[in-house]
Amino acid sequence: MSRLDHWFEGMARQSARRVSRRHWFSRFGAVLVGGAALPLLPVARAAEKHTLGEDGVKGPEGDPTRCEYWRHCAIDGFLCSCCGGSHTACPPGTEMSPVTWIGTCRNPADGKDYIISYNDCCGKTYCGRCMCNRNEGERPLYHWYRNNDINWCGGAKAQTYSCSTAVVVKTAKEAQPEK
């Protein structure tokens, strides 16, 4: 036991001889301040973006600007979040179509199915960015009920398709049977 005591004593005396108290305080202070300032750096914030995204979902599935975003499971079109709007709002100068393609998607954060309305934004030329064509649960045109290839801008004032949104309507009672 005394050997351990001696060893510690030796270490403590050696560090007291070599390292000044001020030096130690300055280093310790730097660690404290540096640790607190780290999240302010743009690098840290960029990394944070993908830790917890929209709707409490991690990674690309929680990022409304990505095709992988969980609400985009049945989408077919350009993402409005990439075209000057957001996943729930139309870009300026376009009008949200009142008629819409509706499906269900499962939110990976809570494992529940949600009814999603893919309202198209109409009135300006097609966006052309972030094409996303996942179509989960879609059926061929002869099942017109479950086909999204018609122009949903038919109900809007202008028929030109620009991009698509993904709005949560409600939690679903069950997943769409075609899935």
Binding site: W101, I102, G155, V169, K173
Partner: protein, 129 residues
């Protein structure tokens, strides 16, 4: 603190609006895309809030199941019957008497209308029962 937690819990529970019944769920998923959530329809889709015009007229009961939207909906006969009992009451304000059964709906939907608009006009010309 406990009260705060309880309040937050209640708020969270009421936050995510769930479809209350299968009828409402089926309506949102299968009808509301075109007829819209409030049934007002659009330039190209007939409004459901015009249903009271037909209410009580002979043939209206059968017509509502034989229109393309109802007859071709990807739902079982039982689910369609339940949905239509709910839907007719919601948009006409009157309960369906007697209620649609899966058997009745099954027979009607297998005989869909070729010209629903013409059929509707014909029903409207008839006097109410």
């Amino acid at each position: 603190m406990k009260r705060l937690v309880a309040t937050l819990g209640i708020l969270l529970m009421t936050q995510s609006a769930a479809a209350d019944s299968y009828e409402e769920h089926d309506y949102i998923l299968n009808c509301s895309g075109c007829h819209r959530m409030d049934g007002s329809g659009s330039r190209t889709v007939p409004p459901l809030d015009a249903m009271p015009e037909l209410s009580g007229k002979p043939g209206a009961r059968e017509y509502w199941i034989r229109v393309p939207g109802a007859a071709q909906a990807p739902l079982s006969d039982a689910r369609l019957a339940a949905l239509m009992n709910w839907l007719v009451e919601r948009f006409t304000g009157k309960t369906v008497e007697p209620a649609y059964t899966a058997k009745e709906v099954g027979e009607l939907r297998r005989n869909p209308l070729r010209d629903p608009i013409e059929r509707r006009k014909a029903i409207l010309r008839l006097p109410a029962r």
